[in-house]
């Protein structure tokens, strides 16, 4: 029980809040590392704290964090509970963040198991716990293996094999220093090799993003000053496509106006109060809030009125969107168009005619490459555990890469590479310990 474990304790479905629970020695430190608010390592036990979950400098969610210090807790270990907003996207995002900070996804029944092992639960429940562990793990193992067929597992296997070759080569350099037929892995050679593998892993993470899209949908913010036709556009979108009456996928419940599916992918539209300068304090709060929402959404549609010239307000909005994923919908092309934005990602349309927003939908499909996304394909890195393993494996390799420049000897850098290799093995479920030695003698003619 040396690991700190984490799981989403509430059922992952629509609800006002979700609870993410951690247990273990590092629980408080891990949450503290992504929490903005009071210093959680210094607060008394059994207290609740208001604050924000942060990813670097971005607020992910407004939360309440409960701190329970060992031993008076469910597992008798340090326990932290994060109450966050109930959307699947947000809850998963927080879980994913926690996993990259060093805790591990709990196995089914693991909190209860710890509670038992730490003497919290009555002994008579032992068998029940044991049954739970074995049945659930068998089942999840099965699920886990099904999930990993085809493309993804072969990609990971290829990358692992590359790492293994590298490790075997380094091992030959170390164990058989006089053997001259093996390439000597120097820091500069290692740098090159690591950079290539890191690149492939990053690519893999991109497919992971696709996986997330399939699962959680795409959050799209509609922005524009008042009266450019945002509401008409939204209504038209919702009318034409099958609207889902739900609030589960939104970043914050009360601003998701509606969701539609295009090519099997959910688009969650978030209407914003509009971005503009204001002196009214109440309104200003709303504007700040919408800027925040824009930062959190995956994509932005900026609506402009094509029958008018660009206003100062429009220009401010465009400047604000400069470095964000967005497109500009020039509305009202049923009238005379007075707008021309040559260097922008622009779609023309209107909400009057039947085919007025067809171009917009085509553009969205193109933007998200939806024709290449097959939602039935199980091979995407779709769950948080896998994403976190790839990320941690990347961290190890990046650490090694950075240290190549510091003249750290290859046989130390090898420890990072080995770690990356083991982490990838956890994804495919292969952790056979003698692989390296087998590889060594298979590939190199060694010995006296």
């Amino acid at each position: 029980m040396e690991d700190t474990i984490v799981a989403i304790s509430t059922a992952l479905q629509k609800g006002a809040i979700s609870i993410i629970r951690l247990s273990g020695k590092e629980a408080i430190n891990i949450v503290e590392s992504i929490f903005k608010g009071q210093n959680l390592t210094k607060v008394p036990s059994h207290t609740i704290h208001y604050g924000f979950i942060m990813e670097k400098n971005t607020k992910i969610d407004e939360v309440l964090v409960s701190i329970f210090k060992s031993p008076k807790t469910y597992t008798k270990e340090d326990v932290v509970e994060i109450n966050c907003h109930g959307s699947i996207a947000t809850t998963n995002k927080i879980l994913e963040l926690l996993l990259t900070k060093g805790c591990r996804l709990a196995e089914p029944g693991e909190f209860t198991k710890r509670a038992f092992l730490n003497g919290r639960i009555d002994l008579t429940q032992a068998e029940a716990v044991s049954d739970l562990i074995s049945s659930k793990t068998d089942k999840s193992r099965e699920m886990f293996l099904n999930q990993l067929s085809g493309e993804l597992s072969s990609q990971i296997k290829t990358l692992r094999q590359e790492l293994l070759n590298l490790l075997a080569n380094i091992a030959v350099n170390i164990d058989y220093p006089e053997y001259e037929d093996a390439t000597i892995i120097t820091n500069s050679l290692l740098k090159e090799k690591l950079a290539a593998i890191i690149k492939s892993l990053n690519k893999l993470l991109k497919t992971a993003k696709n996986g997330k899209i399939i699962k959680d949908g795409i959050n799209i913010a509609l922005v524009g000053r008042p009266n450019v036709g945002k509401s008409s556009l939204l209504n038209k979108l919702l009318q034409e496509e099958k609207a889902i009456v739900t609030d589960i996928a939104g970043t914050t419940r009360d601003i998701v106006e509606g969701s539609i599916t295009i090519n099997g992918i959910t688009f969650n539209f978030i209407d914003t109060a509009g971005i503009r300068k204001t002196t009214d304090i109440v309104e200003k709060l709303g504007v700040d809030k919408s800027k925040e929402l824009i930062n959190k959404s995956d994509y932005i549609i900026c609506v402009l009125n094509g029958s008018e010239k660009l206003t100062k307000e429009d220009q401010e909005i465009l400047a604000f969107l400069k470095n964000k994923n967005h497109l500009i919908f020039i509305n009202k092309n049923d009238q005379k168009i007075k707008l021309d934005l040559p260097n922008h990602n622009v779609v023309y349309g209107n909400t009057i005619f039947e085919d007025g927003i067809n171009k917009l939908k085509e553009k969205l499909i193109e933007e998200f490459n939806l024709n290449h996304l097959e939602s039935e394909d199980p091979t995407y890195l779709s769950n948080a555990r896998q994403i976190s393993l790839v990320k941690r494996s990347l961290q190890s390799l990046e650490n090694a890469l950075n240290n190549t420049s510091l003249d750290i000897p290859v046989d130390l850098l090898e420890l990072d590479i080995k770690q990356a290799y083991d982490l990838l093995g956890e994804i495919t479920g292969e952790t056979y310990q003698d692989e390296l030695i087998d590889e060594l003698f298979k590939n190199f003619c060694l010995g006296k």
Binding site: M1, E2, E107, E110, K113, F116, L117, N118, G119, L123, A126, E127, V129, S130, D131, I133, S134, T137, D138, R141, L167, A171, N173, I174, D175, Y176, P177, E178, Y179, E180, D181, L406, D407, I408, P409, V410, D411, L412, L415, Y432, Q433, L436, I437, L440, F441, C445, L446, G447, K448
Partner: protein, 620 residues
Amino acid sequence: MYDVIVVGGGHAGCEAAHASAVLGKKTLLITADIKNIADMPCNPSIGGTAKGIVVREIDALGGLMGKIADRSHFQIKMLNSKKGPAVRSLRAQADKLLYPKIMLETLQKTPNLEIQEAMVEDIIIKNKQITGVILENNEKIFTKILILTTGTYLKAQILVGNKKTPSGPHGQKESKHLSNNLKKLGFDIQRLKTGTPPRINKNSVNLQDLEEELGDEMYYTFSFDNPPFYNLQDQEKCYLVYTNEQTHQIIKDNLDKSSMYGGYVEGIGPRYCPSIEDKIVRFSDKSRHQLFLEPETKENDEWYLQGFSTSMPHDIQEKMVHSLKGFENAIITKYAYAIEYDAINPLQMKLSLESKIIENLFTAGQINGTSGYEEAAAQGLIAGINACLKLDKKEPLVLKRNEAYIGVLIDDLVTKGTKEPYRLLTSRAEYRLLLRHDNADLRLRKYGYQIGLIPKDKYEALKLKENQINTLINILSTTYIKLTEKTKNIFKDNNFEVPTSSISLANLLKRPEIQIEFLSHFIDLNYSFDVLEQVQIHIKYQGYINKALKEVEKLLKLEKKKIPEDINYNTVLNLASEAKQKLNQIRPTTIAQASRISGVNPSDIAVLSVYLKKEYGLNE
């Protein structure tokens, strides 16, 4: 009645008998031939990657190998000296006649130790406990504890071409019946194979055609306790030579005549010590293979041709050797051969090296499925120590994987078993950054002292060294350089970048270009080389060392969770059947060991933990 009888006078037997006698036990070493004490039937070197570290560990614990190697080698090298500190390792070319001679003298001088020439053919058991041995002439000798270190002698057969001859190495007498008798007692006997290359008369080789291999130009010793006994310039040379297309053709043309490829071998050979025919078959794309010509002793001109191990008939060996450049007229003084022998399945041993089947019976060395003088000596030492601890009713010495290569070796054997002769490799040690050549004394001397093999003065010297290391680390971490014109100039004069602000000496030392000696510009560095080396490694590689220590912390928690000896795995519900079978066979002593068994999954470990808590109230 002896306290301890050791059967076999090889590297394992010598260490075992010596340790037992030094610890005050009445000890008898039985060997088939006293002239073969500490014989080196294969390569004439001691140490090597990972193995050199084992020799240091043996020395730290109070064993003999390092001290005797220091007195008997004629060349020594630090392997991987250009790589990181964790993989450096010494290797010496030891004199094959001198090493055994010094060993025999040492044993003969050891109080409480008798040496007898005889062949043991059976053991005497009473109530599953050892009581003695039976010699070839039916004489019985009684003992409280028996240590078997029979090497490659159990039912040994020498293979050359299609000929199989019952014999130990180099025509020594083999043990005919002991392994059969062990089998009857329930030992799982496996057949292993190894081999040795031909020996060549050096004067018959044209050495100018060969590349020279020299010793290092720095003094080294294996032992922590003695100075070097050699002169740098007196070191002997070794030579590098290559096989060629002609050699390969001869081998290919005659493959069916080799014992290995002719189908005459049952035993499983080690992958890391392949015969030359193996190399040529498995790596057919290679146009040449490296061979080393190494002196065996200063007393004669018989040299060892490393890399040319074979089981070809003698006439083919002649052709093969003569095809090498410079060897056109070479005289083979001993032909190469393969050897098959019986070994026990190490899964039947405890981590103390005591048998799980027969109480008070210990085994060490090649009988346990290992290969190599160093691996043998290490096990011998541990078996000798644990025999004494058992007699004294004390807990055995079990070195953990984070403490010593010796710990890795024994844990691997006992937990995973082996199907081929086992050789230590650095890649087998997951905490190798902590298991360094340079810190073997800091890791292990305390155990040697507690047991009684390391005298008090040496232990106190170690404590002093430890104190100095800690003091200096502390000084370097708390001393800051003030940036004055004077200090700035020191950096400039050495072509180092001037720090931008006041910096601690420890942080300065982390810079790749800076060595600890440079710090003497700022503070008094009046410490021994060893202390400076430790401090430098500690500070420079702190990030990685801390990472390793964190991993060790996890391991130790699991190591603390003991599994009772009497556990009945059949009553553990929900344990997968493969796990149940493996656990029953290996009977791990801790949850950590259980989790290293292949086929035992994390869910099995979870189920087992729950069971232990329920049945035994065991937890942390």
